[in-house]
């Protein structure tokens, strides 16, 4: 045993000496490079045979794409899709570093903000001929200089899920305005039922909830050009949004959003709702399956958000993740083939399978709205689905700052500071 170790050490010393003997660092680099390169060749032959592997990255787990991946396997048999999941917090970091090192995935799922950035930097393949198959409402958020750089996925929307039984049993009618909504919440509070379950440990719920109110009150009316002005650096939240947020703050002053909720995460809030401890829960189609799984008896429905005036209501939402092709991919043509297969009725149906409720932007592809969204159908039909920060251009990532500042706002920070801080974050991003 001892002899063995000694001879092993001797051998390695010799190797080390020879490397040093060669002198420079680059030599040793090259040897490792060669060694790994040959390994790689062998590996590829073994695994893929005829198939070419394309890498696709996304911030949601593989389950949320399973039907599409199955469909693509049969529709484009020469391609094997390797799914790279990166959690949302690290997604930009990982994809940006990969792209800048020309090591990016072949097919990239983009948010409107990241698509714009990557298109500007020339990382993305222009996809106009496929973009024509989609409606402008879908492709506009993924366009830059009149070129389409990503194909819109099934739309997403967020409204207020509610437990129908709890409303009916207690004789509570659905609200039609924000004030009615507040009084509905109060009624539930009086009965000892939590009106709204919310996992405010995440910065997303209050972002969407408050923006939906501002959308109904201002952005869809007097403030139609607010987003485009903000993008040009000519509009600010502070001084503009104050009256609307002040009104919306009844959500906090009436104890619907509480400081305690800052210690609850999204899943735990969903549990409260699914087990009947809370009457409402803000979310979208992505959670429907999980809610029903936790409580198959649940009588589930969704209502939109409201402004102070009676309306069809508003939902926060927009085109789902955009499918883009990395311009420096070695297999651009095959990647196009994949996206072509996606841009068919069958492809959209497979994508819809795991996103039931959303609508497709592909011209001619229509899917029936599942029953669970019936009370939100008026808003959907009126086209009142709106995602304000999609219009913010390169300041779009500031919606996260918005959400974080609202956590501080709930915890006692005053409104002016909150909005000023968000404006600063927007300025910083625009100045890049």
């Amino acid at each position: 045993m001892k002899k063995k170790i000694i001879s092993l050490l001797l051998a390695t010393t010799m190797v080390a000496t020879t490397i040093v003997g060669c002198g420079t660092k680059t030599d040793s680099q090259e040897t490792t490079k060669d060694a790994t390169a040959t390994k790689e060749e062998v590996g590829e032959q073994e695994i893929s045979g005829e198939q070419v592997t394309l890498r696709m990255s996304y911030w949601n787990s593989e389950d949320t794409m399973s039907a599409l991946l199955d469909y693509l396997a049969t529709a484009v048999p020469e391609v094997k899709i390797e799914y790279q999941f990166v959690d949302n917090d690290n997604y930009n970091t990982v994809v940006d570093t990969q792209l800048s090192a020309e090591e990016g995935p072949d097919i990239i799922c983009e948010s409107p903000g990241s698509a714009l950035k990557h298109a500007r930097l020339g990382y993305l393949q222009e996809l106009n001929y496929l973009g024509d198959r989609y409606s402008d409402a879908g492709t506009s958020v993924y366009s830059y200089n009149d070129n389409v750089y990503a194909l819109p996925g099934i739309s997403w929307f967020e409204g207020i899920y509610f437990n129908k039984d709890l409303f009916e049993e207690n004789g509570i009618d659905l609200p039609k305005t924000f004030d009615e909504y507040i009084s509905v919440c109060k009624k539930f509070q009086e009965m000892g039922i939590k009106p709204l379950a919310a996992g405010l440990m995440s910065w997303e719920p209050m972002l969407k909830n408050s923006m939906a109110f501002v959308a109904a009150e201002y952005l869809s009316a007097d403030g139609k050009d607010f987003g485009s002005k903000l993008r040009e650096g000519q509009a600010q939240l502070e001084g503009t949004w104050n009256p609307y947020i002040e009104k919306w703050s009844e959500m906090i002053s009436e104890g619907i959003y509480t400081k305690d909720m800052l210690g609850i995460d999204h899943t735990q809030a969903m549990d409260e709702f699914a087990t009947g401890k809370a009457a409402m829960f803000c979310s979208g189609p992505w959670d429907c399956e999980a809610i029903m799984e936790k409580n198959p008896e649940m009588n589930l429905d969704m209502m939109p958000f409201f402004g102070t005036q009676a309306s069809d209501g508003w939902l926060i939402g927009g085109p789902g993740c955009g499918f883009a092709i990395n311009a420096s991919s070695k297999n651009v043509d095959l990647a196009k083939k994949v996206l072509e297969a996606l841009s068919t009725n069958e492809g959209q149906a497979a994508l819809w399978e795991n996103n039931q409720g959303g609508s497709s932007y592909l011209k001619g592809a229509e899917f029936a709205l599942p029953e669970v969204y019936s009370s939100a159908s008026s808003a959907l039909n009126a086209g009142n689905v709106y995602c304000p920060w999609n219009e913010w251009g390169s300041a779009a990532p500031a919606h996260q700052n918005y959400g974080l500042e609202f956590q501080s706002y709930l915890d006692g920070q005053d409104l002016d500071t909150t909005l000023t801080n968000i404006d600063e974050a927007i300025q910083e991003l625009l100045s890049k």
């Binding site: 001892k2 050490l9 010393t13 570093t97 090591e103 995440s202 999204h266 899943t267």
Partner: protein, 274 residues
Amino acid sequence: MRNLKKILFELIMICLAIVWFLPVYYLAVTTLKTQQDATLHPLALPSHWEFGNYINAWVKMEFPRALFNTFIITVSSVCILIFIGAFAGYALARAKNKTASFIFMLFLAGLIVPFHMNIISLYKIVKNMGLMNKLLGVILVDVAINMPQTIFLFKEFIENSVPWELEEAAIVDGCDVTRRVLLIVVPLLKPVVSTTVIIVTLNVWNEFMTPLLFLQSRAKGVILQEVSRNIGQFSTDWATMFPMLMLGVLPLIIFYIFMQKYIIAGVAAGGVKG
């Protein structure tokens, strides 16, 4: 009286240890229950043992593959570090001049540099060397991260516990440096090697950022990456995650149970000398 006091004292310590252990117990016991059981009686033993969670987690995280990759990365890093650390530590311990102490300071400074600060440039270097998406890339980066500590441990150990006089005797007999190192120094390094094995194993096994950045394909992924897959954009799937956390730490627990004595002794040795 003295005895009674002692027993009482031991009992108090045991109670404290139980409280200390509670979170780990909670993690373990929750994974073996149905969700309802877990919410109703969080700390009780399961009313019936539910192993389905583990089977799910095992399949979902492709456990054998993830374990294999983690294992390869850890073992390779440890081996490389011991080899490099022994020689570099010896060199630094025996050469008492300005160059040597400058190089040693350079290594020590590495203890302070946070890894995250250099991500962008490191990424370019790894890419240019063609090491992207290769276990070797992660191994080399992990080796570099753990090198300052390793070299420090070996240098201090050789300086304090391998007397130069031993070698002087060998020099008289006409031994050259290589033979002295292999025949005299290496056999004496056992304590510091075991310390290094333990500290580096824990560090590399628990490293999240390097695999996340440098391994793209799932086939190359490690255990912690699989665990983090349950963190969706909106929600975390706790029901699946808990058994995965458990599976993720199980190999370390086994390592710990078998190596417990050495681990504690090793950390202690590394600590006091380090």
